[in-house]
Assembly symmetry: none
Homo-oligomer: 122 residues x 4
DNA sequence: GTGGTCTAGACCACA
DNA sequence: GTGGTCTAGACCACG
């Protein structure tokens, strides 16, 4: 599991890290219980400030994706809360995306197909 | 069509305005060719600075959702570019949302149903 | 010779009129000495304020493309000043366009070909 | 690379800055990856408000000429989208310039020569 | 009347 | 330190 930063992106670095770890979990690249690199190790590896990695980890903790193991740093949760629903923010974002798709003339079927494909990927 | 601001959100005000207008167009609350409130009017109505509204309008203009008719202020475009595809950013966002849905235990079918529902709404 | 306004353009209406008349002269749609419609006639025809047409005519006069005939309104000049060079503004604009073309990877030959084609057209 | 403002011009300041930077990139005065002065530094240097510089930078960013690296301010893009074609606006402008050149009695060959010279310079 | 531009300040998120 | 956002004013071009 390697983290890939995009300097030209508007997305803050800590958010990029958080995003890639979430996708990594969903794709199975990161297994439940797996240990994440330490803040300092990851920061060194991708050449950024430790504070930034720390912020990403804190966010992931707060969202329930990882937990702190006192002895060995951060680990991926073994069980995720099965709320089976999207967050309020995600719903808003999804509506936003769908609005733009509709206005651009995209057919509902095509959009659904895309979603199904992504659901298989990630 | 009324604009609703969320002060607690970290989404910039001009972006919130832009978003709600895009959804408004997609939902049909704003018809093609319809005149938008003037910059000053909208600013006064929602109690913010007119430059902020202006910024939202310029963003919408640049994205091709509205145009400014010199005689009568801003209007919704009558024809939208039919790209029939999602922007790179939207794709990334969508994958992100789908990852989160999967981890939360949401079934693909349920996610698709949500999308279809939103596609009908907006 | 009909004038075609683009409401969605950023170019001021009076400038659009001026531009189309200049191109019209260059293309031969407007012959030297030919009478232009009166300000009021043209304004009525394209549904805009007379002031706007007047402004366009004034600009054209000032630039030496047309002249006022006291009896019959405005006419296209019969002889244009043959300075055989571009205005300072046009040179700056041309450099600007060429810069953008170069950065976009356009080859010099292709650009020249375009210019030759346009030179034939207008 | 110094920015030169023309107070008498009706071209907005932010646009003048944007234009000079684009030409600077094309001329090689600004190399890919090179860091631009910070918004505040440039604003102080040329004696204008920083929001105006910021606007210029945002425009350049949106057009894909520069990007803002969160760590070190704005930088020239290392790779430009190779569209290899002119924008609709540039085509219109170019036709306009050519019309004016023709009316002024400029020969096609001379115009082409000018273009080739500029293409070499910038 | 409209939107567009600009100023001089301020605050905030990010790194 | 950086850029991004926002405010409260002002002036101008356009129509």
């Amino acid at each position: 599991m390697i983290i890939c930063l995009d300097d030209t992106s508007d997305v803050p670095i800590y958010q990029q890290i958080r995003n890639q770890i979430v996708v990594g979990i969903s794709e199975g690249k990161l297994s439940p219980g797996e240990q994440l690199p330490t803040v300092r190790a990851l920061a060194g590896e991708i050449g950024i400030n430790s504070m930034t990695v720390s912020k990403a980890y804190q966010l992931l903790k707060q969202e329930g994706y990882i937990y702190s193991d006192r002895r060995s740093g951060a680990r991926v949760r073994t069980e995720f809360e099965q709320k089976e629903k999207l967050s309020k923010e995600s719903v808003a974002l999804l509506k936003q995306i769908i609005s733009e798709a509709k206005i651009s003339g995209m057919k509902k079927e095509d959009f659904i197909k895309k979603c199904e494909a992504y659901f298989g990927e990630v």
